[in-house]
Amino acid sequence: MDGIGIIKGLGVTLRRFIATYVDDIKWLGRRYYKEEGIQHRSSADTDGIFTVQYPEEKIPVPEEFRFIPFLVYEEKDDGSVFYRCTSCGICAKVCPTQCIWIVRTTDPRTGRPVPEPAEFYIDVDICMNCGFCAEYCPFDAIKMDHDYELAVYDRHANNIYDKKKLGKPVSYYASIRPTNYKREEELRAEAEALKAAKKTPAN
């Protein structure tokens, strides 16, 4: 009979409509504005309403999420900062859109390059968030940020990020990418130990 298919289809939507309320009751008070509620709504068991109400609720971004890159700096005890970047230029070379600009520091007395960027720019109007810079940086000095709330009214003044705007402390990096951070620190410690071990017999 004509119309059966439509009625069955409408049944699907009706079931869905009811499921929202059933789920609300099941999750009484925990479904909205709560961490676990958001988690539940993004899981494979979610049923009923699917909406996450940005900006009150935010879907947590996964660790690997990448947006604009940032430069990692370490803070010394005296409050000064020290960028991990050695201005080796690998990120600028691997960047598919060529949106990274680095000025290498030269020692004013000897004229030799110093492993530290004098200036570091990223044109975020060109950047394609591909993550190659972070992937191929041998010093873990550039990483992909999680902050995506970057809308501006004027791009000409704001959208070429300089070293200062790009810089973020190691602690921030450790907080957004804990697993990666841990793995890298372990590798670093290993390498240090190896170096130290090599040095000792030479003495």
């Binding site: 289809g9 699907v12 990274i100 200036e119």
Partner: protein, 580 residues
């Protein structure tokens, strides 16, 4: 290098000793056919050798040798390896006979080669520019043609490091824009193209009185480039008699982003994230095709675990793409947005997996030459299992119940936009469009790549070739993809995910390779030519949407104007790939 070397067909050389010779450049395969005898040889290839499917046509500008080369890839729809032939002509007067009379599917691809490379195809019925507009200065893919923002022949640019004084490129242009004009050009004398040749081409069959005997003029309707039904910036010029479509010409290029020109300046690796932006609904499949092509050139293979991960990701991509395709097809049929919401919900869950693994929802950039970028982070495998074993099968059934027997969907879809199997093959249609017309041709089966030969799955086929079947086939394919994912997840081995050390500057030996995969939309091929340097000499994308659209006119003719929307929706085009 190229795996498509056909050995049993040496008779081509015997048959045409004068006009055919082996392509013996290092790293190349196939035959070189002289331009004067091309049609004759191709007719033999089609009729006597059985290569009924013309997969791709493109050109390569060998500037140092002063040659322009057209490259043809033929396959058999019954499966098996393909055949490559080439024709070389002088690049200043590049003219090659057109193959449209033998393979109608050559139409748009030849127009593209004319537009971008300036190869004139003699005998082509409608040789106009296709991606750029009429009147544009030059043929941009020629190696001696430079764009206004031209900096250097290849990346990385020297200005970025170590003296990277930042500037915006528009600041160095007198117009502060991405423009350049030929010397002595006067804008007042310029007459912009008013599309009259385009309109004439749809109007050439003058209406000599229909069944009613009343003489009417055709009405020409422009749909697009901004039209809610065109899935982006696509334009159709439709000639109507009453409400019936008599002729239809797609007009494209509104999203032509010069993918190939940029790709020839990038290093091999730098192209990977650009491929994401081809078919932006299924970036993992694009990565797959490109990785295969370059791996073929390099002669490497990824380790086991990476192969499995690749297949899993590619199949998840297929599901998410088909969900989106079904949602928007239903949108086009008038079920405004509700089916789309259901489809997008599942898609979002798949995208969550991509985001957790690859780092981005739709621009995954996950494949590397000889492996993948990173292993699955903690918890992702469980998520995949939940989806593949529990949720997706249930949800696909729900979608089926929701839409398949809907009387309106049937009424709008059955018998509309029919493409017969013969037509589908002749027009080089691929993917769901080809299989919905009853041709069981799936590259995963016909010419297996990666590890698809290990999985147990059916090639979905439907036989009516109409809009409704093209909907059904997508549902079928999603089910098959779920099956593949389930098997792959169960067999997922432990181990490394990358062959050798990750490198940002890969060494690619000189040669050519055509890597093709069964992307969700059809055959996605990458034709890459390397000359041993850091950047590819030629980088061509055989985009399924672009080739499938060649058959649009045939499907649409005789239907009502309201059906064009549904027909276009059923082909499932993506503009990023169509226009590149």
């Amino acid at each position: 290098m190229s795996a498509q070397v056909v050995t049993e067909n040496v008779d081509l050389l015997e048959k045409f000793p004068q006009s055919v010779k082996q392509d013996d450049r290092a790293g190349y395969a196939g035959y070189i056919v002289s331009a004067d005898h091309l049609l004759e040889v191709v007719r033999f290839i089609r009729d006597d050798m059985g290569f009924d499917y013309l997969a791709s046509i493109t050109g390569v500008d060998y500037l140092p040798n002063g040659l322009m080369e057209a490259v043809y890839h033929f396959y058999k729809t019954s499966g098996g390896p393909g055949l490559v032939i080439k024709t070389q002509v002088d690049r200043e007067q590049a003219a090659i006979p057109s193959l449209v009379s033998l393979y109608p599917g050559a139409d748009f691809q030849e127009r593209e080669a004319w537009d971008l490379l300036g190869i004139r195809f003699d005998g082509h019925p409608d040789l106009r520019r296709i991606l750029m507009w009429e009147g544009f200065a030059g043929h941009p893919l020629r190696k001696d043609w430079h764009e206004p923002y031209y900096e250097e022949e290849g990346k990385p640019y020297k200005s970025r490091w170590p003296e990277g004084k930042v500037y915006r490129r528009e600041d160095k242009n007198p117009f502060h824009k991405n423009v350049d004009y030929p010397a002595g050009f006067d804008p007042d004398k310029w007459v912009p193209d008013d599309d009259s040749t385009l309109y004439a081409s749809v109007n050439k069959i003058s209406s000599a009185g229909g069944e009613s005997g009343i003489k009417t003029d055709y009405v020409i309707v422009n749909m697009g480039p901004q039209h809610p039904s065109t899935h982006g910036v696509f334009r159709m010029v439709v000639a109507l008699e009453g409400e019936t479509i008599r002729a239809l010409k797609p007009v494209m290029g509104y999203l032509h982003r010069n993918h190939e020109k940029i790709g020839e300046r990038n290093t091999f690796l730098q192209n990977m994230p650009f491929t994401d932006r081809l078919d932006y609904l299924s970036s993992m499949s694009n990565n797959f095709g490109y990785a295969l092509a370059v791996e073929k050139l390099m002669g490497i293979k990824p380790p086991e675990r990476a192969e499995y991960l690749r297949v899993i990701m590619a199949e998840f991509t297929r599901i998410s793409n088909h969900l989106f395709a079904i949602g928007s097809l239903l949108n086009d049929m008038g079920a405004y947005f509700t089916p789309m919401l259901y489809a997008i919900e599942e898609r979002e869950l798949i995208l969550d997996i991509f985001e957790a693994t690859a780092g981005s929802r739709i621009m995954c950039n996950y494949f590397r030459f000889g492996g993948v970028a990173r292993d699955l982070p903690e918890g992702v495998e469980e998520k995949m299992r939940d989806l593949a074993f529990k949720r997706l099968p249930r949800k696909i059934d729900e979608l089926d119940l929701y839409l398949t027997n809907n009387e309106i969907v049937k009424a709008r879809g059955e018998g509309v936009g029919v493409l017969t199997p013969e037509q589908a093959i002749a027009y080089s249609a691929s993917g769901p469009v080809l299989r919905a017309s009853g041709v069981p041709y799936d590259i995963r089966r016909a010419d297996p790549y990666s590890i698809y030969d290990r999985f147990d799955f059916d090639v979905a086929v439907r036989y009516h070739g109409d809009v409704y079947d093209r909907y059904l086939i997508r549902v079928d394919e999603m089910r098959q993809s779920v099956r593949i994912i389930q098997q792959a997840l169960n067999g997922l081995p432990k181990g490394p995910i990358q062959e050798g050390k990750p490198q940002y500057l890969v060494r690619v030996p000189a040669g050519e390779a055509y890597g093709r995969v069964e992307a969700p939309k059809g055959e996605l091929g990458f034709y890459v030519v390397s000359n041993g340097k850091a950047n590819p000499w030629r980088y061509h994308v055989r985009a399924p949407s672009f080739v499938n659209i060649t058959a649009l006119e045939t499907m649409a003719k005789g239907n009502k104007v309201a059906d064009t929307v549904a027909i276009l929706g059923s082909i499932d085009i993506v503009l990023g790939e169509l226009d590149r």
